[in-house]
């Protein structure tokens, strides 16, 4: 409402004259495609019933969000066996590498949704794949006891696909990860080995009474730290600079993979065989920070979003779930009729997409935010979306809004399994309660959910 404003003019004689003027900038739109400028009166008496009106808007926003929730973007098919591992290109968003159970590695272009290159990398499974930090090459490990380094660029015309480097090992390697900034990488198998790219033997090799490891991961923030999952149900922490491992937690069941939080140096999450995921603070390993439940079968893979706020997990129960990093339950579940056991999952580096590789030879591309509109948004669209999001947050506790926002469809067998699990859990809880009730007070201690799953911490 500042169309008319007082302006003080100073004349040549130094006299001040106040005049009323009308600035066209205040009421004329810039282009004809712009909307008309409408002066608004914010007097609250003119706009009554704000809560009820916003409530209705929130309800509509929630409904629209659910209507537009179509997370599935694309499926990349071409592999001839189940996909065993996935890797992101370190420097390019649109490139993804995948390794299959028949030893084939494919490089995909996500924007074109096509395979750019196929390499027969190993005999037997490709167990692990990772990109070098600069994105110029990538490493694979396989069942044929080799570590191979490949060029990211395809070979010239008529030339054979050949690795830049091949390291022959004594035992099968089951996982590989590359350092964030240096030319070293870590593999796991019978031991956890740290390699220099220039050498054919490991510069360091850790073992702690464990016969085989399933996963090793570098900490992306404190880049000298590593963690690995071993087959004796333990998670072991290492420091690359030290000669001995740091600490070991033994859990009730085996952990399959783990992932460090890229924004929180000391937190990591591991996916466990007991259908749960556990987030640990590496400084306090005796109790997990959070137990993430919802899967109904073993969790096979986990990956953090690059913002460190959420993570995605892939499970043997044929679903992918997205968990907020500090919440015990998932905020989203993705599944399709054709997707079988999901073996590997990755969150894209721009925080927008999720990639999942599953048993039935397909890589699927999902939106990380199910109802998000893809592509560029106009400022008005953006403002409207932000407003809707805010409204949903504001009214999230209201029963109608909550019911709609939380509803998800689940396949029948999963649903049944879930119900069954819930019943089992309830029964166990009841039994524990009864035991406690009928025994001497204090003799049966109350064990929290978090404490249940850690057997011991070994120093």
């Amino acid at each position: 409402m500042r169309i008319l404003s007082l302006r003080a003019l100073i004349t040549s004689r130094g006299m001040k004259v106040k005049v009323l003027c009308r600035n066209p900038d205040d009421y004329v739109r810039e282009t004809t495609r712009d909307i008309q400028r409408v002066p608004r009166n914010y007097d609250p008496t003119i706009h009554p019933f704000e809560v009820s009106r916003e409530y209705t808007r929130a309800l509509n926003a929630t409904k629209l969000e659910r209507i537009f929730a179509k997370p599935f973007v694309a499926s990349l098919d071409g592999h001839r066996d189940g996909i065993n591992c996935l890797a992101k290109h370190a420097k390019t968003l649109s490139v993804v590498l995948s390794g299959a159970c028949d030893g084939e590695v494919k490089i995909w272009n996500l924007s074109k949704r096509e395979c750019m290159r196929t390499i027969q990398a190993h005999e037997g499974f490709v167990r692990g794949i990772c990109s070098r930090f600069c994105g110029s090459s990538f490493f694979t490990v396989g069942d044929d006891k080799t570590v191979k380094q490949w060029n990211m660029e395809p070979p010239g015309r008529g030339l054979q696909e050949e690795p830049l480097n091949t390291i022959l090992g004594k035992a099968v390697y089951t996982g590989i990860d590359h350092h964030q900034t240096e030319g070293t990488f870590a593999t796991c198998g019978q031991t956890v080995d740290i390699w220099d790219e220039q050498r054919s033997s490991p510069i360091r090799s850790f073992s702690w009474g464990v016969d085989s490891f399933s996963c090793v991961r570098y900490n992306p923030v404190e880049t000298e730290l590593l963690a690995s999952c071993a087959s004796d149900r333990s998670i072991i922490l290492y420091d690359m600079r030290e000669s001995a491992p740091l600490k070991k937690i033994i859990m009730q069941l085996r952990s399959n993979t783990l992932c460090w939080n890229p924004m929180e140096a000391y937190n990591f999450t591991c996916s466990n065989e007991d259908y749960n995921l556990y987030t640990y603070d590496m400084r306090r390993l005796d109790v997990p920070v959070t137990v993430h439940m919802d899967h109904v079968s073993a969790v096979l893979d986990v990956d953090y979003s690059p913002t460190g706020k959420e993570f995605v997990s892939a499970s043997f129960d044929k679903t992918i779930r997205i968990f907020p990093k500090n919440s015990g339950h998932s905020r989203e579940v993705y599944h399709t009729k054709r997707m079988q056991h999901v073996i590997c999952v990755k969150w894209s580096a721009d925080n927008k997409y999720i990639l999942s590789g599953s048993d039935e030879m397909n890589i699927r591309l999902w939106k990380a935010n199910a109802s998000e509109k893809l592509g560029l948004l106009t400022p008005r669209e953006k403002a409207a979306l932000n407003y809707n999001q805010k409204l949903r947050d504001k009214f999230q506790h209201h029963p109608q809004v909550r019911r709609i926002a939380r509803h998800r469809h689940l396949p029948r067998d999963l649903f049944k399994q879930k119900r069954e699990l819930r019943e089992m859990k309830e029964a166990r809880r009841r039994k524990a309660q009864n035991v406690r009730k009928h025994s001497k007070p204090g003799s049966v201690p109350l064990v929290t959910e978090k404490e249940k799953h850690v057997v011991s911490v070994v120093e």
């Binding site: 500042r2 704000e50 009106r53 140096a265 409204l391």
Partner: protein, 746 residues
């Protein structure tokens, strides 16, 4: 011999040699040969073959291969060594004594720890180290968790001003005007590109991290602004021509100095001594110079005038007096009147702000408001010094005159007057000092608002809401006991595809909520505070239109949803009269008031406790037609329920208050207090405050609806790196800064 054959494959050349040698020697004797062979073979299996170096050669005492052929099993004792010690004359007695003491000691050394234990210790140490290292990130992480908005990728191009070379490459002055300007700049040795930093500064900044550099840069900027400010101030003060002003100021300064000196004597005697030395020096200078000795030009002219002019005589006398004072040997100066020259010296030594006449004046200047950091005390001091120097120069020209008649109060009054005037002037040329950006914004902001107070309230609420929401996003300790926290999803078999399905979902909720909520639940915070607070529901059924329409004072004012209000009603008051008439006509036959009263009575009756008659005829006595149960029995079995609480509308004759729960509203209400909120009023205030564009200005709206996480399309979000760690003072960097600052100020 199969085993022996196997062994032979592993033979080292030495062993073969041994065997062949033995064969050669005892070729005649078969038995002994056989025995030797057996021995040799048996010796092959053992690890330490070298120990059995036996040769049947003449030199039995000394082996060819090892020195210890003789006396292999014997131990070397300390006493053996000591024996030789006694013989050697060069060894000092002290060492001999020590060795003897050693010999007498019987204790053995402790065993080293086992391998497992040492490894465990190593691991523990390493773990402690790395967890300590990792804890450095704690501040950053908590900060990010608390942040209202996070923008990813974390490291983005610096938004600050860039050097011209960076922005425009290959730009040259083309137009004559530009050329002229450049030639001017060149001739005056001005920097053309206005570099933000000199090469030395840049190099030093490169040695620091980004964060440090930013902070340091801000400090440089501050220092520079401060410097220019003081320059401007000095210039301004130099222009003040009033002698009185300067005189008074000087007096004040001297006073302040003396005060400080007194304090110094108590607190810092060494400093005070130094001051005294300075005074002594100035005294010496005064004695050497011809100043105040009435030998100058001015004094001579005065001397001529002195005959006729009292004032001139007085001035001369004053001069002499001053000389006397200055050359007087003083331990502690107690006089108020002092010489200018000394003032200069003292002012130079003034280490504090004492001379600053206007510490509070510059409320506009952001640098003057806050407490200055240690680094900036330096520039201030120098600025003050220059100031005083300038003044003294002026004074020197004007000569000195002291008005002793003037009283303290008057002086102060005058000073204040001057300051006020100067303040006025300063307000006019405020452009010397940069106005902080925030304030400007604030002004604009308040201009946009029609009712600032209203918006203030809004902001306070908003901040509360945000805080609560934040605390929800960062739960302090998400307590997870046996009964785990509620799931985030309702997973079911129903697939929702259309809006109709969603409506159906809503219906589900209705079904859910119609079931009574658990009694333990906290009282439902009413969400629809605006439209219909359920507790204050007032049903007016069939009230006489006369009464309703005339009693305007009884219009219920909803707390925050102002309906169309009084003003409008005033406007349409003429219409009311008409409407009243019409309604009267329409409901001519109805007795609404009595209807209302009946209704109310009915409700009251319904609410009252009923008497329950539990008497069973025929029990304990005869029953049948015409027989009534006995009075005693009836009295015994008539149960009277306890009286209900008093009705709220008991004393309100024309009101019915119903306290029943309205299920149609309840479906939309929150039945339990959500997690982060402490009480229902908090929650209500959060909900009540609108965020939409309808109620808020564009900027407020944008602020309110800002998303929590912002990502850039197509940008790779790198994990946090060491550069994101908070700024830490390291000695090297701070040294650099000190150097640069000193350079800046010179």
């Amino acid at each position: 011999m199969a085993g022996g054959g196997n062994n032979e494959e592993e033979l080292s050349p030495d062993d073969e040699h041994i065997i062949s040698a033995s064969e050669e020697e005892d070729g005649s004797d078969d038995e002994s040969k056989h025995a030797k062979l057996l021995e040799a073979i048996s010796s092959l299996g053992k690890r330490k073959r070298m120990k059995r170096t036996e040769r049947s050669e003449a030199s039995v005492q000394v082996s060819e291969f090892s020195v210890n052929a003789d006396g292999t099993g014997e131990k070397v004792n300390l006493s053996d060594l000591l024996g030789t010690m006694d013989k050697t004359p060069g060894a000092p007695n002290k060492t001999k004594q020590q060795l003897k003491n050693l010999q007498n000691r019987k204790e053995t050394l402790e065993l080293p720890l086992s391998k497992q234990q040492t490894e465990k210790i190593q691991r523990e140490v390493a773990y402690d180290k790395s967890s300590k290292e990792v804890s450095r990130w704690e501040t950053v992480i908590t900060q990010n968790q608390k942040a209202e908005q996070l923008v990813f990728p974390l490291r983005q191009d610096p938004t600050g001003p860039k050097r011209m070379e960076q922005v425009v490459a290959g730009w040259k002055a083309k137009t004559p005007l530009e050329k002229e300007i450049f030639s001017l700049l060149h001739s005056n040795n001005q920097p053309i590109h206005d570099p933000l930093l000199t090469p030395a500064e840049e190099a030093s900044i490169k040695a620091m991290s980004l964060e440090e550099a930013k902070i340091r840069q801000a400090e440089f900027r501050k220092a520079r602004v401060l410097q220019s400010y003081y320059e401007a101030k000095a210039r301004r003060e130099r222009k003040i021509k009033s002698k009185k002003y300067h005189k008074l100021q000087k007096k004040a300064k001297v006073k302040a100095f003396l005060k400080q000196f007194d304090e110094m004597m108590k607190t810092d005697p060494a400093g005070a001594l130094e001051e005294l030395k300075k005074m002594e020096l100035s005294r010496m200078q005064e004695r050497m110079s011809l100043k105040h000795q009435n030998s100058g030009k001015w004094a001579k002219s005065k001397a001529i005038m002195a005959k006729y002019d009292d004032a001139a005589r007085k001035a001369m006398q004053e001069q002499l007096e001053m000389n006397k004072q200055l050359t007087q040997k003083l331990v502690v100066p107690s006089d108020d009147d002092d010489d200018e020259e000394r003032n200069v010296e003292e002012a130079d030594a003034l280490p504090d702000f004492v001379n600053d006449p206007e510490p509070i004046l510059d409320s506009v200047n952001p640098w003057m408001r806050g407490k200055l950091t240690q680094e900036h005390s330096e520039p201030e001091v120098t600025a003050v010094a220059t100031e005083t120097a300038v003044e003294t120069k002026d004074e020197g020209q004007n000569g000195q005159r002291e008005d002793e008649e003037e009283e303290e109060n008057e002086e102060e009054k005058l000073l204040r007057e001057f300051e006020r005037k100067r303040k006025l002037r300063q307000d006019e040329d405020d452009d010397l000092v940069p106005v902080p950006q925030e304030e400007k914004q604030g002004e604009r902001f308040s201009l946009c608002f029609t009712k600032p107070r209203h918006f203030l309230a809004i902001f306070s609420k908003l901040s509360l809401f945000n805080r609560l929401m934040k605390s929800s996003s960062v739960p302090p300790v998400p307590e997870q006991t046996g009964a785990e926290e509620a799931e985030l999803l309702d997973e079911g078999l129903v697939r929702v595809r259309t809006m109709d399905d969603l409506e159906a979902l809503q219906q589900d909720v209705v079904m859910d909520t119609t079931q009574p909520a658990p009694a333990s639940a906290t009282p439902a915070p009413s969400m629809e505070t605006t439209s219909e607070p359920p507790k204050k529901k007032k049903k007016k059924k069939g009230i006489d239109p006369n009464e309703v329409l005339t009693k305007e004072a009884k219009v219920i004012k909803m707390p925050l949803a102002p309906t169309v209000v009084e003003e409008e009603e005033e406007e349409v008051s003429e219409v009311h009269a008409e409407q009243t008439a019409i309604i009267k006509e329409a409901f001519a036959g109805d007795d609404v008031i009595s209807d209302f009263l009946k209704d109310k009575r009915k409700q009251e009756k319904a609410g009252q406790a009923e008497v329950v008659d539990l008497t069973l005829p025929g029990w304990g006595e005869w029953g049948g037609v015409g027989l009534k149960p006995s009075k005693r029995k009836r009295r015994k079995f008539r149960l009277k329920a306890p009286a209900p609480p008093l009705r709220k509308d008991q004393n309100l004759p024309d009101v019915i208050i119903s306290e029943k729960r309205n299920s149609s509203v309840a479906n939309h209400q929150v039945s339990q207090l959500p997690f982060p909120f402490q009480n229902s009023t908090q929650f209500e205030s959060c909900v009540r405050f609108p965020v939409g564009q309808t109620w808020n200005t564009q900027t407020t709206f944008r602020k309110l609806t800002a998303p929590k996480v912002v990502t850039k399309m197509g940008a790779i979000i790198e994990p946090m790196s060491k550069e994101d760690l908070p700024y830490k003072t390291n000695s090297r960097a701070s040294l650099c800064i000190l150097y640069i600052q000193s350079k800046l100020l010179n």
